[in-house]
């Protein structure tokens, strides 16, 4: 009697184990009525502006696109890297087949985990390069910065632009270089004053940085990460601002000359579609303006003359067609060294690794 029960018990456990194994292995065959479970981990809180907002917009548009086929689980405020890893593993165990990382900070742990959890596919925003079972996507921010630079170059009276930088990472450096190159393309006399606040977030110091730039003659202010605080400070000082990866016109109205925003929806939708079709491959996607791109020009100030607006439209079309390359030579750096000769252009890797400033920037890269 006892034996029988024990045997039955063992049999039961074995059966249960097999079933769960099966359910683990049966991942690749999604029945049409089954929903694809997508997991997203945000490092910060989702708000109405800024980086996390655009990340959230991406999975929201994914939900809107496939309301019946996709189910999105979102975790916010997962700041601790150990927690990121634990949460991703948990999401994978719960049967989420597509997992999105939202920042560069999650890249290292995703790179480690992705090969270990083959039942899920990983996609990391702002990750460095694609790896086994890990796709990455990032925007060519500099294309937007170049266009807003054209607007700034046309509208500045002092011929001095101002840039509030957080830390001298390549993404910030190539954005500000492109901003100045854009401005110089229409107004060769323009220079740019650069101030580092040495903090990712310090609204009070950002405000002081803007006042300081204005006191030194700057009359168009941009920055990265750009915040409503900077734009509002610029308005208070009576100068123009730029929406660099964010539209702050609801705070500053017509004093924001032009803005561009991030749009990660194509990244999310394409990845989900590929997983649904069973065709997902890890790829690196670095896209700028245009259809299916990750950068989108948004609002323009009503004070911007129509001629400048047309100029922006033409430059945008030229960038999309590939005719205009923001980092096409000749480009000299601050020290006068020619970084790229006429007729050549910087490669993607050279742009992503940028650690120098173009001629006309007043400021320095602290670490070098």
């Amino acid at each position: 009697m006892i034996n029988k029960t024990r045997r039955r018990l063992i049999g039961g456990i074995a059966a249960a184990a097999t079933t769960s194994l099966w359910s683990n292995f049966a991942f690749s065959v999604l029945k049409p009525e089954e929903k694809l479970k997508v997991g997203v981990i945000h490092m910060g809180a989702i708000s109405n502006t800024g980086w996390e907002y655009y990340q959230a917009q991406a999975w929201r548009s994914l939900q809107d696109k496939y309301p019946d086929r996709v189910e999105v689980t979102v975790l916010e405020n997962v700041t601790d890297i150990q927690a990121v890893e634990r949460q991703f593993r948990q999401l994978a165990m719960q049967g989420h087949q597509l997992l999105f990382g939202t920042t560069f900070s999650q890249y290292a742990s995703m790179k480690k985990m992705a090969p270990q959890l083959p039942q899920s596919h990983f996609e990391c925003c702002a990750g460095i390069e694609a790896g086994p079972n890990l796709g990455v996507f990032e925007g060519r921010h500099y294309e937007g910065s170049y266009l807003t630079g054209i607007a700034a170059g046309r509208m500045t009276k002092s011929n001095i632009l101002g840039w509030v930088g957080a830390f001298p990472v390549p993404q910030v450096l190539y954005s500000l270089n492109a901003f100045l190159l854009g401005a110089q393309s229409v107004n060769p006399d323009v220079t740019l004053k650069l101030v580092w606040v040495n903090a990712w977030v310090d609204p009070a110091k950002e405000k002081d940085a803007v006042s300081t730039l204005v006191s030194q003659g700057a009359d168009v202010i941009s920055g990265s990460p750009n915040t409503p605080v900077q734009s509002k400070a610029a308005r208070d000082e009576g100068v123009w601002s730029i929406g660099n990866t964010g539209d702050f016109s609801e705070f500053v109205y017509e004093t924001q000359l032009a803005s561009f925003e991030l749009d990660w929806s194509p990244a999310h939708i394409e990845a989900a579609q590929a997983v649904l079709d069973g065709t997902w491959e890890p790829t690196g996607r670095w896209r700028g303006l245009g259809d299916g791109g990750f950068i989108r020009m948004s609002t323009r100030s009503p004070e911007l003359p129509a001629s400048v607006g047309e100029e922006l439209d033409m430059a945008e079309a030229a960038i999309i067609s590939g005719e205009l390359k923001p980092f096409a030579g000749p480009i000299t750096d601050q020290s006068g060294t020619v970084r790229i000769a006429e007729g050549m252009e910087l490669s993607d890797d050279e742009i992503r690794g940028m650690n120098w400033l173009v001629a006309g920037v007043q400021g320095s890269v602290p670490s070098s």
């Binding site: 910060g44 809180a45 708000s47 109405n48 502006t49 101002g162 004053k193 650069l194 101030v195 580092w196 606040v197 040495n198 903090a199 990712w200 977030v201 310090d202 609204p203 009070a204 110091k205 405000k207 002081d208 940085a209 006042s211 300081t212 730039l213 006191s215 030194q216 700057a218 915040t227 409503p228 605080v229 509002k232 705070f251 007043q362 400021g363 320095s364 602290p366």
Partner: protein, 306 residues
């Protein structure tokens, strides 16, 4: 000339939240209570002050709300540190972590919202005064408030009996208790005062300085205020100098860059902490100087009846 004046004014504004928080912490520490929760109290003051002004468009209601929140939270800290004699450092750090997280959580619906308080702060008679008029119209009432606070505090600590009693409590709670002073009540009052000031300091940043809400508003200024009290060797008059020095350092850092002076910005960012370490080393070198500067019972969880 106007340039130099406006730079000075910016430095004063940058120093004002430090001054409020540091003067409050100075009083708290003078009573022997070490409250390391200033950063958390400032965050909570910043969000409640901002929310109140956002809802009512009234600066003073914001200041009131921020002060009340800071005061209430610091009294909760007091229950831990004074009544229950929990380690001050641990309780203070807990308060900071709690305040930063709760502030971020409470403030979530307000992220990106901005205030539109009218620019003219003082109006009517005062601004019409000859000579002094522009001072009243250019300088925010809360900056004036910080000067009044400083004056009052200086008078309180060197010229009044109550100030002497406060110092006596911080030097030797047992002796003060033995001669009949209500030591715990005095410590609670001092801690509450510090909390109210930290709350107002936070509100100054969110309401006056940036007038827009985002996370990370206080950005370490609470810690600079704690360092400032040490820098000032627990004296109000050195506190005001230090506050403007530290505030001015931020402006100098930014201005140096914009003017292309090639200043090492990381070094300037670290100056408040460096200066504090230097002062600590200087006062620690001599035992007598140490005893004259630091409240003897600072941060000690004593059973005064024992």
């Amino acid at each position: 000339m106007t340039d130099i004046l406006s730079i000075l004014l910016t430095a004063i504004i940058a120093g004002t939240p430090l001054l409020y928080a540091a003067l409050g912490e100075l009083v708290t520490e003078r009573s022997g209570v070490l409250n390391l929760g200033v950063e958390g109290l400032m965050v909570m003051g910043a969000i409640t002050g901002f929310a109140a002004v956002f809802a009512t468009d009234n600066l003073w209601l914001g200041v009131l709300a921020a002060g009340a929140t800071g005061g209430a939270l610091s009294l909760a800290f007091g229950v831990l540190a004074i009544t229950l004699r929990v380690n001050h450092v641990a309780a203070g750090l807990a308060l900071t972590i709690f305040g930063i997280s709760l502030g971020a959580y409470v403030g979530k619906p307000l992220v990106g919202q901005s205030l539109n308080l009218t620019e003219a702060q003082f109006s009517g008679g005062l601004t019409q005064l000859p000579l002094l008029g522009p001072l009243f119209s250019d300088i925010h009432p809360l900056v004036w408030g910080s000067w009044l606070l400083f004056g009052g505090l200086w008078y309180f600590s060197v010229r009044t009996r109550a100030g002497l009693i406060l110092r006596a409590v911080g030097e030797s709670p047992r002796a003060a208790d033995a001669i009949g002073y209500p030591v715990m009540s005095i410590q609670f009052l001092a801690t509450g005062f510090g909390g109210v000031m930290a709350g107002i300091a936070g509100a100054f940043i969110s309401v006056v300085y940036t007038s827009i809400w985002t996370e990370g508003m206080v950005a370490g200024r609470g810690w600079i205020a704690v360092a400032l009290v040490i820098f000032a060797t627990w004296r109000p008059e050195r506190c005001i100098i230090g506050a403007y020095l530290f505030g001015g350092m931020t402006i100098a850092e930014l201005l140096g860059q914009a003017m292309g002076l090639g200043v090492p910005t990381e070094f300037l960012s670290a100056t408040p902490y460096l200066a504090t370490v230097i002062v600590l080393v200087l006062i620690s070198r001599k035992d007598s100087r140490m005893r004259l500067s630091v409240p003897a019972a600072l941060g000690k969880s004593l059973d005064i009846k024992g």
